[in-house]
Point group: C2
Chain length 256, copies 2
């Protein structure tokens, strides 16, 4: 199982949108995919039409109670090969619970070990903060994708994020490597976004994924229908771009 954490301290850069749609694209390509919502906002859960408040058991229970195995909380999405571990606002209590646990940075990693053979991919959506919960995601993962909006504030924060990932690799998880920086919310035709993209590619080089996700209002509409863009509007540019991202992640040749 390849476990990929989708993380960035900057808020609103497309972490959830990427988690939901990359997981959906991988599942549609036939990979057995597990999507874990590790944000107490529960937006990845909402993204598949699951009401967070209605779940009496979530990833919170799996993390804080070793007697609750992951399969107890899993929910089937509208895509056969995609299964979701939902969250809700109770997850914000995980931070205090984890503080008191043994080896508190690796709890999620241990909970996922048994499921390595059941899934090909595990995607983890993180909240915009460097909490113990996010650290658990980074230690359970072997790869990280950092979505970055092509705006000034986002670029400035990126150096901090990369430094933080270095620290995590050195102190907690030697396997962790950056699969790539994903440019998101790129506005077609604006000088700002083109400038920022060029600056990013010259500064970060190969670290920037080839796939760029452009702004498309349908990507913002899809969560309202409780679906990923893949099933909500498969012909939309956003759907094509996230499918291209899935192919780039799987090392297949990208069909341009």
């Amino acid at each position: 199982m390849r476990t990929i954490a989708i993380t960035n301290l900057k808020g609103g850069c497309g972490k959830t949108t990427t988690s939901v749609n990359l997981a959906a694209a991988l599942a549609l390509k036939g990979y057995r995919t597990l999507l874990i919502d590790l944000d107490p906002q529960g937006h990845a859960t909402l993204g598949f039409g699951i009401i967070p408040e209605n779940r009496n058991r979530t990833i919170y229970d799996v993390i804080t109670n070793p007697d609750v195995p992951l399969q107890c909380v899993l929910v089937q999405s509208n895509i056969p090969k995609l299964i979701l571990a939902p969250s809700n606002v109770l997850l914000s209590g995980a931070e205090a619970a984890l503080m008191k646990m043994q080896d508190r940075e690796h709890v999620l990693m241990k909970r996922l070990e048994k499921y390595e053979r059941y899934f090909d991919y595990c995607i983890i959506d993180c909240s915009p903060s460097l909490s113990l919960l996010t650290l658990n995601a980074l230690n359970a993962a072997t790869e990280v994708i950092v979505p970055v909006q092509t705006h000034y504030y986002s670029i400035e924060g990126l150096k901090q994020v990369l430094e933080t990932l270095d620290i995590v690799r050195n102190r907690f998880n030697p396997l962790l490597h950056i699969r790539g920086i994903l440019l998101t919310l790129a506005e077609q035709g604006t000088v700002l976004c083109k400038d920022i993209e060029n600056q990013m590619r010259s500064y970060f080089g190969q670290l920037i994924l080839k796939t760029v996700i452009h702004r498309s209002i349908r990507l913002a509409e899809a969560p309202g229908a409780g679906e990923s863009i893949m099933t909500f509007d498969p012909k939309n540019q956003g759907a094509k771009e996230y499918m291209q991202l899935a192919e780039e992640i799987c090392y297949e040749k990208i069909r341009l």
Copy 2:
């Protein structure tokens, strides 16, 4: 001094953009304005062209060390009546430091008491998490503005934010009231944003501020020049809308 916290757990909804431009608009209207950057990302600091790493003293020092008065860290912006208390990544260490302090939820409030007579407005930019730092901002404030993007994920999280603010008012700060919900990043002409705006006004009524901030690429370009939109491009729609917001906040009659 009216102290207004700009907060929302949802990332990327325009907290920093609102803090920077509302503070600038208030200062241009002649009010003595203090902008406090309470986000370790230091984006409000960047928004005025101040390099966070270059500051050897920031709001972190004021919070964690009672011997460092606020005036030691203040920086003059490019607008005469606007002064900034900058932050940088060291502020992420404040959480652990506050944990050990007496009356840890009210530390910022106490540090600001002496400055009540020197400023008319104090604007506090918060990070997208409900940390002890954000709680300090909510306890130092008497008013809260909640910026909300007119998208699905943002709406869903709003109920949680309002519940959280209720808890803070009941347990920590009886003076805290919601000055308003500010609709931001509204895309002109899309059905989604119009739908969401209508849903919001029918559900939340008067709580929704009259001023709506529309998406304008110049608002995203201004931080690159290290200026607020007010001086970067005063004729831009974003500048007019933030000036209208400042007038709405000051209870003046809004010139429509």
